[in-house]
């Protein structure tokens, strides 16, 4: 993080970036407002705390993973392994509190929160190493763990479903401090933290610089390799957290199911929110809005009795339209 001060002249960065970001957010914001208004008018019981909670709970894990994906995409990369890493983290946690090390339940519980997330982060660093040290294309580098990762989770658990009832652990999926689902609080914290990182820290600017023009960033003294390593590591960590939430909600861990298709949801959320797949442009708040838009569309369709299959087609069209509109603006 010790990039030279000359990298981005602070004046330019201040005057240009915030405006561009807010205009990029306008589209998703309007779409979200329109969806909200439509539902408020036509969907019965939409304006209730319960509906709000249901939607936010369902979207929380996607947002947490998509924030990591946004960082990776900002460097011009992609992370196909997030779903598999969720499965690994979800497979490890129950093993720790069901068979606590040293026979201490407290230790097992503590480690269940920490070790799986760190393991997922380590796998993320492995992705980053393939991208930086071995110069593999991110798509191929993360394809390796996409294919092998779920297998690792299945080998570790021997493919068996782990069911459990452990209220202290399940708090991250079921807890409701002040009536707000705990994972929603976690989601808001993650979004706020990373939005701040991207806007206000040297690291955030370095991430965008790497994605904007890697060669130029390197010449400007940005530690390109370390920045890339960090974004894949962070993406892994966040996937690890999401894995814990999913198994806490389900009170069970199924290595075949946890995080399935998550990479697609996360990429779609980031793309709809205005993050360019080609790198150099990213907005964390946009990703949050993108995920909310996709979720609200799904909810709207299901609430109106449209079958899930049709909802998939509509989701596809929405993604295309959103990405097309953003292309026009650029």
């Amino acid at each position: 993080m010790s990039g030279p001060e000359t990298l981005t002249p602070p004046v330019m960065a201040r005057s240009r970036r915030p405006r561009r970001q807010s205009s990029a957010l306008l589209g998703p914001l309007l779409a979200l407002a329109a969806l909200f208004l439509f539902n408020a008018l036509f969907t019965p019981n939409f304006l209730s705390a319960q509906t709000l909670n249901v939607n936010l709970t369902q979207v929380a894990t996607i947002v947490i993973v998509a924030v990591g994906m946004t960082l990776v995409m900002a460097t011009g990369g992609i992370d196909l392994s997030v779903g598999a890493l969720m499965a690994i983290s979800g497979a490890l946690a129950p093993m720790l509190f069901l068979h606590p090390p040293l026979g201490s339940p407290g230790l097992g519980l503590t480690l269940a929160f920490v070790l799986p997330v760190l393991a997922a982060g380590a796998f993320g660093l492995f992705n980053g190493m393939l991208v930086t040290r071995f110069n593999l294309q991110p798509f191929i580098a993360t394809l390796v763990l996409f294919i092998a990762g779920r297998g690792i989770a299945q080998v570790v658990t021997n493919g068996q479903l782990q069911t459990f009832s452990e209220p202290a652990f399940q708090y991250i999926g079921l807890g409701r401090p002040l009536g707000i689902p705990f994972q929603v609080i976690l989601m808001v914290l993650v979004v706020a933290l990373f939005a701040w990182i991207m806007r206000r820290t040297v690291f955030g600017r370095q991430v965008l610089a790497v994605g904007g023009n890697e060669a130029a960033a390197r010449l400007a003294g940005v530690p390109v390799g370390r920045v890339k390593l960090a974004v894949y590591g962070l993406s892994g960590l966040l996937a690890g957290v999401a894995g814990l939430i999913v198994i806490a909600i389900n009170a069970s861990s199924d290595a075949n199911q946890v995080g399935l298709n998550m990479e697609l949801d996360a990429i779609a959320a980031a793309a709809v929110g205005g993050t360019a797949l080609t790198g150099g442009r990213a907005t964390i708040v946009g990703t949050l809005l993108g995920a909310l838009i996709i979720q609200l569309i799904r909810y709207t369709l299901l609430a109106r009795g449209v079958p899930e299959a049709v909802a998939l087609v509509v989701k596809a069209v929405i993604i295309l339209v959103a990405v097309y509109i953003q292309r026009q603006r650029r």
Binding site: L136, I147, V155, P307, Y324
Partner: protein, 329 residues
């Protein structure tokens, strides 16, 4: 590092190219030799045909993917397009083999056409466009099939397509080899093939030279859709049912086969034959694992398969990368 003097590079380049193209072939030959020496029944027609029959679906999809990747694109939708085609085929199977086959391939081709039009004329990145189609085709498949698998008709010759033989060879293997032979001819001997490679090499330059860039791109995705459709027909025919939820992750298996074959994801180069070698290589690794399990020397659960597949992909791409980097000096 980025600019390489041609004079110095040529001999290097040729060795590297030979290694890249024939390295995989040598690996395949060694694996087959290993299997033949170690296991009884490895080279029996039963085993060979099982491997070919099972891998024909991946092979067809990987063939289409090779053309897509050579233009610098990617087609993530092939797995769900195949699932969609399998449902269409099963629904049409009471009318006989040909209506089922042609109808399913036509339906899949239409989805490929939509991919191509969106990518070429709306300028949406192939990754996003085909990601959307991945969702949409799955939705269409589930809609058509009412969320469950659709039994195919067994009386009108449809299931014979996936399970039958001709002159001792399974139909699916013949289809696979004919498709690859055609693919090779198209890539090496037609204008379309040259356009594909030119666009992948440098799209802007191709445009300036007056090549029909958009039209070529559309055709590439049409081809990929059609081949995915054919794979879907084989799926329905082999399993005796249209499977709306099948094909998950097939696109990545196909991409892995293309990459193992040595085609670079950045486009502009590659060979159809290498993809076939890549498909067979991945297929034979599993075949060998099955034999090892059968002998009882190891007992790896099915869950190890994907771990080994991933590790294998990793080794191959790192080796390839080393070779390409040598070329760059």
């Amino acid at each position: 590092m980025t600019t390489t003097p041609t004079a110095r590079v040529t001999p290097y380049f040729r060795t590297v190219q030979l290694l890249q193209q024939y390295g995989v072939l040598v690996a395949l030959a060694l694996l087959i030799l290993f299997g033949a020496l170690r296991y009884e029944g490895f080279l029996t027609s039963y085993n060979v045909f099982t491997v070919l029959g099972y891998n024909s679906m991946f092979g067809l999809i990987a063939l289409g993917m090779t053309f897509v990747i050579m233009t610098g694109g990617i087609d993530l939708s092939v797995g769900s397009v195949a699932a969609f085609a399998s449902v269409v085929a099963a629904l049409l199977s009471p009318y006989g083999l040909w209506p089922a086959l042609l109808g399913a391939v036509a339906a899949a081709t239409l989805l490929g056409l939509i991919n191509g039009l969106v990518i070429a004329y709306l300028n949406i990145l192939p990754f996003i466009a085909t990601l959307a189609m991945l969702l949409a085709a799955r939705g269409l498949a589930l809609m058509l099939a009412n969320n469950e698998s659709v039994s195919a008709d067994f009386d009108h010759g449809f299931t014979a397509f996936g399970q039958g033989t001709l002159g001792g060879l399974p139909f699916t293997a013949i289809v696979l080899f004919v498709a690859f032979a055609l693919g090779m001819v198209v890539l090496r001997l037609t204008r379309f093939g040259r356009h594909v490679l030119a666009i992948g090499g440098n799209e802007e330059a191709s445009q300036l030279m007056g090549l029909p860039v958009r039209r070529t791109l559309v055709w590439v995705y049409v081809l990929s859709g059609a081949l995915a459709g054919l794979a879907g027909v084989i799926l329905a025919s082999q399993f005796g049912a249209g499977q709306p939820t099948e094909g998950l992750g097939w696109e990545l298996t196909a991409i892995a086969a293309v990459v193992v074959g040595g085609t670079l994801l950045t486009g502009g180069s590659g060979s159809v034959g290498s993809t076939l070698v890549g498909v067979l290589l991945l297929g034979i690794i599993f075949n060998i694992l099955n034999f090892e399990n059968g002998r009882g020397t190891i007992s790896l659960s099915a869950y190890w398969q994907s771990v080994i597949r991933g590790a294998f992909l990793l080794i191959v791409v790192i080796l390839q990368n080393r070779l390409t980097r040598n070329r760059q000096g």
